[in-house]
């Protein structure tokens, strides 16, 4: 099974404030966008990050060939149990997810 990184151009994650993480999947082409849009299961992404799927927000943006996912941060930014101050590493987890 292909991983997300095998079909898209780039996966980026950033803080959206100290309490939210936002992940942008830049598909790079309409074909890749359509493939991702069909195969990417929102529940599977929530499970991958240990997040409540009810709180996860997903935006399939055809005009940019981007799928954007925002979710509560796995740990609040900078808290004792946080592992990534700027939230940028978390993208790799999704990039390596099998579709």
């Amino acid at each position: 099974m292909p991983k997300i990184r095998d079909i898209v151009q780039k996966v980026r994650s950033k803080n959206a404030g100290p309490f939210w993480l936002t992940i942008d999947i830049f598909c790079g082409s309409e074909a890749a966008f359509q493939q991702l849009q069909t195969k990417l299961k929102t529940d599977a992404v929530a499970r991958l990050y240990g997040a409540d799927s009810q709180l996860l927000k997903r935006f399939d943006m055809a005009d940019l060939n981007v799928v954007k996912i925002s979710l509560p941060r796995p740990a609040t930014q900078g808290a004792v149990d946080d592992r990534d101050m700027h939230g940028a590493s978390w993208a790799a987890l999704l990039a390596e997810m099998e579709l």
Binding site: P18, K68, R83, L93
Partner: protein, 451 residues
């Protein structure tokens, strides 16, 4: 039309000097730059200090003060000193006065303060005037009062008051990133949706264009929308780079909440004017009857000591997590036994760099690397307890065997001593809004004349 020059995404990140000179020659109505954000973590707000070096800040700010004098327009900085607390604003004011004396020009400086008294916020909370945003932590009056700093994010209303003073320079405490850019266009009657949208696109400087490190951009606001133009050589804004910027550090790419309402860019149209500039129309501002400002607060979360060991022995690399778990259990028991402290007075954590340091139990790639780093993190109620526990953890990280039968191993320490005291650590404690009748009620404005 109102022309706003944005030198970079933040003071301290540097800007392209030639591009800035081009911006000054284009006769801007205001120069606006952001001075901070929460992105570097809670310590800066917790301590009320800047992330960037004073010397870098001074050099870059002096360049902008010079540009302001040449352009003959106001210069505004929002979220001064990374966190925008009063102490950071005073730091910025001090730097500004020093430069003013060196440049030998009279100046009128307006200072907008955003710091909040924790006791006042606790009262507002009790009165139902502090309400949570999505995924906010649980709070109560005691927690609010334990914050070392609380700031409210000013919007355009407060920046407009500062502009009305006719100041040459405005040093603002915590503001929204967009408010410092949107204020003047809104005051002059430009399109409200365009003003907020252009401000959002411009708040990170040239990050909305190619060659994002170049920093400097020009935004022209008018009755229907805005036009953005990056000014560095080779930098181009395209409909794609501009529209994609709404994704950046935003949980919702179409909606942006601000004091007094929200921006909706669902209907925005992005058009290339040439190979460099993009025009945007069709964004909407939706005003709200309820005026709210976001609150940020940070409080102490213990004192930390960290240690690091490198493990290259294949047997230990393979079983690093089990080894770490055994150390945490044994060392924690020893701390309770020898120091007579409660188990909730401290935590010991060991993260294995090379395996699960990034994602912990969520890691999906379980390949075995040639070496790993073990970072021991002690967090305790007091500085002395933290350092004492760090010293107790030291021999475990150096010599702990996986089983009692095997020869005592020795791992690689990078430093002597191995313990690195990190001092007090802080945590973000608020993700809430404060409801205000009068937008200025939580902010104050003062004027300083520099002869």
């Amino acid at each position: 039309m109102v022309r706003v020059l944005v030198p970079s995404g933040a003071l301290g990140l540097n800007y392209d000097k030639e591009a800035l000179a081009r911006g000054v020659a284009a006769k801007p109505d205001i120069i606006a730059i952001d001075g901070g954000s929460t992105d570097s973590g809670p310590s800066y707000l917790g301590r009320g200090v800047s992330k960037y070096a004073r010397s870098s800040t001074k050099i870059e700010w002096a360049g902008l003060m010079e540009a302001r004098a040449q352009a003959g327009c106001p210069l505004v900085i929002g979220t001064a000193g990374t966190c925008g607390a009063d102490s950071a604003v005073d730091w910025m004011l001090d730097i500004t006065r020093e430069i003013a004396a060196e440049q030998g020009r009279p100046l009128k400086i307006a200072v907008l303060r955003s710091s909040q008294e924790p006791a006042t916020i606790a009262q507002a909370y009790a009165a139902g005037k502090v309400t949570p945003l999505p995924n906010a932590p649980e709070i109560d009056a005691d927690l609010i009062e334990s914050c070392t700093n609380i700031v409210a994010l000013a919007g355009v209303e407060q920046i407009t008051k500062a502009l009305d003073t006719g100041a040459d320079i405005i040093i603002a405490g915590r503001t929204t990133d967009t408010a410092i850019i949107a204020a003047l266009p809104l005051q002059k009657g430009c399109h409200p949706g365009g003003a907020w949208h252009g401000a959002k696109i411009g708040e990170c400087g040239a990050l909305c264009a190619t060659n994002p490190q170049s920093g400097v951009i020009l935004i022209d606001f008018d009755a229907d929308g805005f036009t953005v133009t990056p000014l560095a050589d080779g930098a181009q804004a395209t409909p794609h780079t501009v529209s994609a910027h709404m994704l950046y550090e935003n949980s919702d790419p179409y909606i942006l909440y601000e004091p007094g309402g929200h921006l909706d860019v669902t209907g925005a149209a992005y058009t290339a004017l040439d190979d460099r500039s993009v025009r945007v129309t069709g964004s909407k501002w939706v005003a709200s009857d309820d005026y709210t400002v976001k609150l940020e607060g940070a409080r102490g979360a213990g004192f930390q000591t960290v240690l690091m060991a490198l493990i290259r022995d294949a047997h230990y690399v393979e079983h690093a997590e089990r080894w770490a778990g055994d150390i945490v259990a044994k060392c924690s028991a020893k701390v309770i036994d020898r120091l007579g402290v409660d188990e909730d007075a401290f935590t010991i954590e060991i993260r294995i760099i090379g395996k699960t340091a990034s994602f912990g139990g969520l890691e999906t790639n379980h390949a075995t690397p040639p070496e790993v780093g073990a970072i021991g993190i002690v967090t305790a109620r007091t500085e002395s307890l933290s350092q004492e526990i760090g010293k107790m953890l030291n021999p475990y990280l150096l010599h702990h065997p996986l089983t009692v039968e095997e020869e005592v191993p020795t791992f690689a320490f990078l430093f002597s001593p191995a313990e690195m005291p990190r001092g007090q650590t802080f945590e973000f404690a608020l993700n809430h809004v404060l409801h205000l009748g009068d937008p200025m009620a939580a902010f104050s404005l003062e004027l300083h004349d520099h002869a």
